[in-house]
């Protein structure tokens, strides 16, 4: 496989405000790549730069070997795009909008278009202004998939979709991927990324902090052991153990929750010194991993306590 999306040292500033800085990553052809980050991290800026809606200040971005800015028209023949905040002429019906985009794109299979409308249970007869957030999302999803693009750029694609339609969306992505399409999925819904993507890039404050396989990202996980003892056990007996990052005694003092980075061996051995009733372990979800990237260095700012009278 070769890289179909190549981003190198991409930088964008909004005057004195931060956009993204020195962002580099690549996405292989046929891959589903998840782009994660909290609000304002730079996900949409990156995607808009790839879509040539913004012009970079430095660095380069290429799709299928074509420069995103210089060869934008050629690139757009290959891609389908779901913007983060879909907007269109409020007086046009969904059907009119789809007809318009079908003409602008050319060579859209009408049968497939109608099939997409059916699968997402979309009503094309209503005006854009009358659609709910979820229906607007369905509309832009249909226009992104209708020409069977080689690359899909999806910015928060399931915002406002109900669970059934989220599942249908997942199936659409999987089908597209099975046919060789590349998916670039920006989201902060980590379970969605976990389900659909094979690799993940995490962006924080405009900078890429990690790129890796979904499993690889999980390797930095922390285990949480929940141990219930017959008696009250001193927390101090576990706090100083190698790899233990946090120990918390639950209400009755019989149960400890021990968060471990790395091997559980020292904790298991220390617990063996007390009468153990039960032991359970759970692995952190991608959400937990994701949150870890934003804690501990002052990023999870406390809310100010100003009160407006």
């Amino acid at each position: 496989m070769s890289a179909i999306i190549e981003v190198e040292h991409l930088t964008k500033k909004y005057g004195s405000k931060r956009g993204i800085t020195d962002v580099s990553f690549s996405v292989e052809e046929g891959e589903a790549f998840g782009f994660l980050g909290p609000n304002g991290a730079g996900k949409t800026t990156t995607m808009r730069l790839l879509m040539a809606l913004l012009r970079s200040d430095a660095g380069s971005a290429r799709i299928a070997g074509l420069d995103c800015w210089q060869q934008a028209v050629e690139i757009k023949r290959l891609i389908g795009y779901v913007p983060g905040e879909p907007s269109f002429d409020p007086g046009m019906t969904g059907g009119q909008i789809l007809a318009y985009f079908a003409h602008l794109r050319g060579s859209v299979d009408q049968a497939y278009l109608k099939q997409l409308i059916q699968r997402l249970e979309f009503d094309p007869s209503r005006k854009f202004r009358q659609y709910s957030t979820g229906n607007k999302r369905k509309l832009v999803l249909i226009q992104a998939f209708m020409h069977r693009p080689k690359v899909l750029f999806l910015d928060e694609p399931t915002n406002g979709l109900d669970p059934l339609n989220q599942q249908e969306f997942a199936r659409l992505v999987q089908e597209a991927q099975a046919k060789g399409s590349t998916v670039f999925l920006s989201s902060h819904i980590l379970s969605e990324v976990e389900q659909l993507c094979t690799r993940v890039g995490i962006i924080r404050e405009g900078q890429i902090v990690r790129v890796g396989g979904v499993n690889e990202v999980k390797d930095i996980k922390r285990h949480v052991l929940t141990i219930t003892f017959a008696n009250v056990v001193p927390v101090a007996a576990f706090e100083q153990l190698e790899g233990v990052s946090r120990v918390e005694a639950l209400a009755d003092g019989h149960t400890l929750q021990v968060e471990i980075r790395g091997q559980a061996d020292p904790v298991v051995k220390a617990a063996a010194a007390f009468p153990v009733l039960s032991v359970s372990s759970h692995e952190p979800s991608l959400e937990d991993i994701f949150l870890r990237f934003y804690e501990g260095d002052g990023l999870a700012k406390k809310e100010t306590s100003d009160v407006v009278h």
């Binding site: 012009r55 757009k76 969904g94 009119q96």
Partner: protein, 549 residues
């Protein structure tokens, strides 16, 4: 301070209007008042001023034109009426506009009743409207004091009250209409159209005898009844009361309806006024064969279609009306001057009775044609900028079309609309001249109507250019400001003896008097060249800029 209440926040939104309309219009009146003595330095000049005023009685009643107050009321009464444009825009925005954007939901989720939110918003509108009128009244008073115009501060304040009541009426009307449509634009468009209709209705009784009853149907008539800046003119409280009642009826009813309907919904019209609800036809739900979705240009045309038709109706209709007015003015003057052998000889000496005389009157009226077309171009250019600002270009630019294509297709559609308006105006003017039995020079009439096209294109190109950097509201404000300044330079500048080089700054200068002088071909080519240059710069900018959100 500004964000402490709904009232203050809404008032803050009107701050630029206060500066633009209040100071702009007030300073204009003050300047004209101060320049008045230079217009009547000799008895002959004074007599000439009065005589010219009679020729344009259809525009405004020429009462005591030999006084500063009479002159300024005659010359700027119409401009004061145009402040209503701000009022109708503001009133269709404060409630329906917020509902359209979805921000009303958030506002009404706060622990404030719907009644209080609406009242605070309306109070902010009335406060802003009153401040605009107060600024105008005070500046008019200052100008009057400077030239000893002979009216008091109280008279100026009555003028302000008259302005508040008229403009407030159009605001209230927009508020009322906006209860029946989910689209703010419908309320704006309909009220704007009614403003034009009411202005024209008011003009009728001054152009045609025994038609007072028609003009009395227009609220503008009751505004014009009061001329408080004319020394010795007693206020007509009855007319003020009529305007007040109209405000209370439409504003009050609009407010009452807002309290009772769904937020984001509409008041259901009686069945006989409602469009029949047609069940959605699945075959039509996806109109893949419709012409208007086949290309960027076709879509641009479809988007401009409805406004183009309305503006065509307005511009071509007004052009035809002006021809009719010119003929009628000549008839009226002829009747008047025939009562005196001396006046009759003067009338004949000035060309009265000939088609040239009608052409002379028409040439002065025709300055409104390019103004209107440029106003149309401004609205369409603003729409282009607004589309980008609201994110409506994102999906279009995600299709395989270059930015240059997208811009040129849309500008091409606007050019087509502009040419269409020019051509229909030409046809309407020629037909009216023929039916009125005036043998105007057809070539010059064609020149006068078609020469408005380059001016429209110039405005559109400037709008596209400014839209490359500015937000829609600022761009629209700046274009409107330019339009007013240019109009001021060409319409008032010669009266103020402004230097020729200053007058040349206005595109209207290059429009000239085509009805009298024929097509100013080089001027038109020059304007087209400037429009092309502006368009080229706009394209250069659009192909390089970040698409705004």
């Amino acid at each position: 301070m500004w964000f402490t209440s709904v009232f203050m926040k809404t008032l803050r939104e009107f701050r630029w209007a206060l500066v633009g309309w209040g100071l702009g219009m007030g300073l204009l009146m003050m300047l004209v008042l101060m320049a008045f003595p230079s217009l009547v330095t000799t008895p002959a000049a004074k007599a000439s001023l009065v005589s010219v005023g009679q020729s344009f009685a259809w525009l405004a009643a020429p009462v005591r034109l030999d006084t500063a107050g009479g002159y300024v009321m005659y010359k700027y009464g119409l401009l004061l009426e145009l402040i209503s444009i701000w009022s109708l825009l503001a009133c269709s925005r404060i409630l329906r506009g917020e509902e359209e954007r979805g921000s009303m939901d958030v506002l009404l989720a706060q622990p404030r009743s719907r009644r209080r939110v609406a009242l605070e918003k309306l109070a902010a509108f009335w406060a802003a409207q009153a401040l605009i009128a107060l600024i105008i009244a005070l500046l008019a008073y200052a100008g009057g004091v400077e030239v000893n115009a002979g009216y008091s501060l109280g008279d100026s304040l009555i003028l302000g009250l008259d302005v508040v009541l008229l403009c407030g009426f159009f605001g209230s009307l927009a508020l009322f209409i906006s209860q029946f449509s989910v689209d703010r634009g419908v309320a704006t468009g309909l009220t704007g159209a009614l403003l034009v209709v009411f202005i024209v209705l008011d003009m009728i009784h001054r152009g045609f005898p025994n038609t007072d009853w028609i003009s009395q149907l227009s609220p503008v008539y009751y505004f014009n009844v009061n001329k408080p800046l004319i020394p010795g003119f007693s206020p007509n409280y009855g007319a003020l009361l009529v305007l007040l009642v109209l405000n209370i009826v439409f504003g009050g009813f609009g407010f009452w309806l807002f309290l009772r309907r769904d937020v984001g919904g509409i008041v259901r019209l009686p069945a006989f006024l409602r469009q029949l609800a047609r069940p959605a036809n699945p075959a039509r739900a996806l109109p893949l064969k419709a012409w208007s979705f086949r290309s960027l240009y076709a879509r641009g045309l479809a988007m401009a279609l409805r406004p183009t038709l309305w503006w065509t109706l307005g511009i071509a209709g007004l052009a035809a009306f002006m021809v009719e007015i010119a003929v009628q003015t000549q008839t009226n003057l002829k009747t008047l001057y025939e009562s005196s052998p001396i006046l009759k000889s003067m009338f004949e000496a000035s060309g009265g009775g000939s088609s040239d005389f009608v052409a002379k009157i028409l040439s002065t009226l025709f300055i409104f044609m390019p103004v209107l077309l440029m106003a149309f171009a401004t609205t369409q250019a603003s729409r282009w900028t607004g589309d980008e600002e609201d994110g409506r270009q994102d999906l279009i630019l995600a299709t395989p079309h270059s930015r240059l294509n997208v811009l040129l297709a849309r500008f091409g559609a606007l050019t087509t609309s502009t040419v269409f308006i020019g051509l229909v105006t030409m046809a309407a003017t020629s037909l009216t001249a023929m039916t009125a039995g005036v043998s105007l020079d057809q070539g010059k009439l064609v020149a006068a109507t078609l020469s408005i096209i380059p001016l429209g294109l110039l405005m559109a190109a400037l709008g596209y250019l400014l839209g490359g950097w500015l937000r829609t509201a600022i761009e629209t404000g700046l274009l409107s400001f330019l339009l007013v300044i240019w109009f001021f330079l060409s319409f008032v500048g010669p009266g103020l003896n402004l230097p020729e080089n200053t007058l040349r700054l206005s595109p209207f200068y290059y429009y000239g008097n085509p009805i009298l002088d024929g097509l100013p071909i080089w001027n038109m080519l020059g304007l087209l060249a400037v429009a092309l240059l502006a368009l080229a710069l706009a394209a250069w900018r659009f192909t390089r800029k970040d698409i705004a959100r």
